[in-house]
Amino acid sequence: MSSTKNWRSSLRRVNLYATHLLGTKATPVYVMTSIISFILAISITYGAYFIFYTFFAVILFALVLVIISTAARVIDDLNEGIASMILTAGLSRFEYILSWLISTVFYPVIIIALAALIPALVISPGALISYRVGPIGFVPPPLGMLIMTFSEQLYVNTMFALSFGIVYRRKSIAWVIAVMLTIIIPIISPMIGVAIALGMGPSSISYRYTNLVIYFMNFLFNPFYAYLSAYAFDPKDIVLPLLTIGISGVFGLIFTWALIYHAKHSMEA
């Protein structure tokens, strides 16, 4: 029933509205994304990523908040009735939601990931996959894994928060979930980890358990943090990192699907 022509005209409309949003409501995301992409690209170009990743948590937090504050404006548009104006112009509910996701979530995440990947590929592709010895003998995680888990976390966090915001038609819910995922859980998880370790009595084994607790508390929604703690647990282990990337990836896809499915079936404008 849906011929290629339908698919094409549907994509054309999504592209149109996404472009419109990009030039209007989504602008703050692009300003922020461009600045961060630039810093990321420069620091990687000059081989300074091992300094940089100390600040990843702050950057991640800032990005999640900017993306959520922009993407969640779709909830205002739905509630106020701007959405129905756009729909009556000839957009489907699916196309409408997809346009928002593309302009406020997909593009920024892809831009960030590319801004890190491209300089790394050009300057030193080896850093993407291999361990390199940093200053004072520290061995930072491979850059490729950092970029991958970082982008995944950005995506999963914003998508998860946005899904609930749209389901309940409230921006505040999207905000609360975003803050929970990017700040509260990462802060609480080491506390719990340390508490358990202290209960076990200080030893090198309990240090490992601290990291494992952090890993398991984060691996669903926060693959980047989970990856860092898995790396600290055992830099040579490959199972946990792959598990993290795989499960969070599937999670991201499920939430994309859930969000679009929900929007399509119950979005009354």
Partner: protein, 304 residues
């Protein structure tokens, strides 16, 4: 004439409790100029949103152009021009919004420029939409509705909240559209006289129920609606005594400069024929005083 809109036993409930439409069934034929009439809160806007596939009915079925508007939303909406009751535009400039609509609908730039000139909003293209006055907002509303040559035009309270002169202007525009465009137009309103000269079909709705629908001429006959004629004459008594014996004349009243005749509106044509032949020399002229629609409305309101 085939039906362009078909509602069968449509129920729409808001928030699980507010029944906005209650087993509503009606049709609107292709190329009709229809009035969707009903008091405040009767379900007019809800019906429009269902036609556009913006709302999903809880029960019943809806066909617009033969399609289900909820599932075939894009194919249905692309063919409809909609002037919402309270349009809420994104906070952009007029041209930005019109460009977006034009691109989504795949219409030509010339087409839109022609419309902006026709509705006199050309000089406001670079203004922010939020800075427009109500009258111009309404013009923008009609302009965006007509982009892409819709086959069906839905106008929700097009004259609400306008001052008398803007009201007259907008009504004039709608009348012109009805005459010039060979399309179906549905106007939702509770202001009856506005529809009198435009509509040839009505759907009367009250408290979510369809009280009656059909072509106006058939409905006026069915409800034996009365028409009032003011006849200017110097011999009112003579004409009155002659006409009072006719079956269809329900009442006569002598007034200054003539008489008022109350008749079964089905016989309007016959009376007018008579007045312009037999009584031609006795009268100076005549005029239909009360709208048939007005009385029909009252009758239907009592029925509801």
């Amino acid at each position: 004439m085939t039906d362009i809109i078909m509602f069968r036993d449509v129920v729409k409930i808001y928030n699980g409790v507010i029944k906005a439409l209650d087993k509503a069934s009606f049709t609107i034929p292709n190329k009709a100029i229809a009035g969707l009439l009903g008091p405040n809160g009767s379900g007019k806007t809800t019906s429009f949103k269902l036609i556009l596939g913006l709302l999903k009915p809880n029960e019943g079925s809806i066909r617009v152009f033969g399609m289900d508007p909820w599932w075939d939303e894009v194919d249905v909406r692309r063919r409809i021009g909609y002037l919402p009751e309270k349009p809420i535009y994104p906070d952009v400039r007029v041209y930005e919004y019109l460009r977006l609509v034009r691109r989504i609908r795949g219409a030509s730039r010339e087409d839109v420029i022609r419309l902006t000139k026709m509705f006199n909003i050309y000089k406001y293209l670079y203004s922010r939409i939020n800075s427009l006055s109500r009258g111009y907002l309404q013009r923008l509303g009609i302009t965006q509705a007509l982009i892409g040559n819709p086959e069906l035009l839905l106008l929700d309270e097009p004259t609400a909240n306008l001052d008398p002169s803007s009201r007259r202007e907008i009504l004039g525009l709608i009348k012109d559209l009805a005459k010039e465009l060979d399309i179906t137009i549905v106007v939702a309103t509770h202001i009856l006289p506005e529809m009198k000269e435009i509509a040839n079909y009505i759907v009367f709705i009250n408290k979510g129920r369809i009280v009656e629908y059909g072509p106006i001429d058939i409905l006026t006959k069915r409800y034996r609606v009365e028409a009032y004629y003011l006849i200017y004459t110097d011999q009112p008594r003579r004409i009155a005594s002659e006409l009072i014996s006719e079956d269809y004349v329900r009442g006569v009243e002598i007034v200054e400069h003539g008489l008022i005749l109350r008749i079964d509106s089905t016989y309007s044509e016959l009376l007018e024929e008579l007045l312009s032949t037999t009584y031609q020399n006795m009268i100076h002229g005549y005029k239909l005083v009360t709208g048939e629609l007005g009385e029909l409305y009252e009758k239907l309101e009592k029925l509801a």
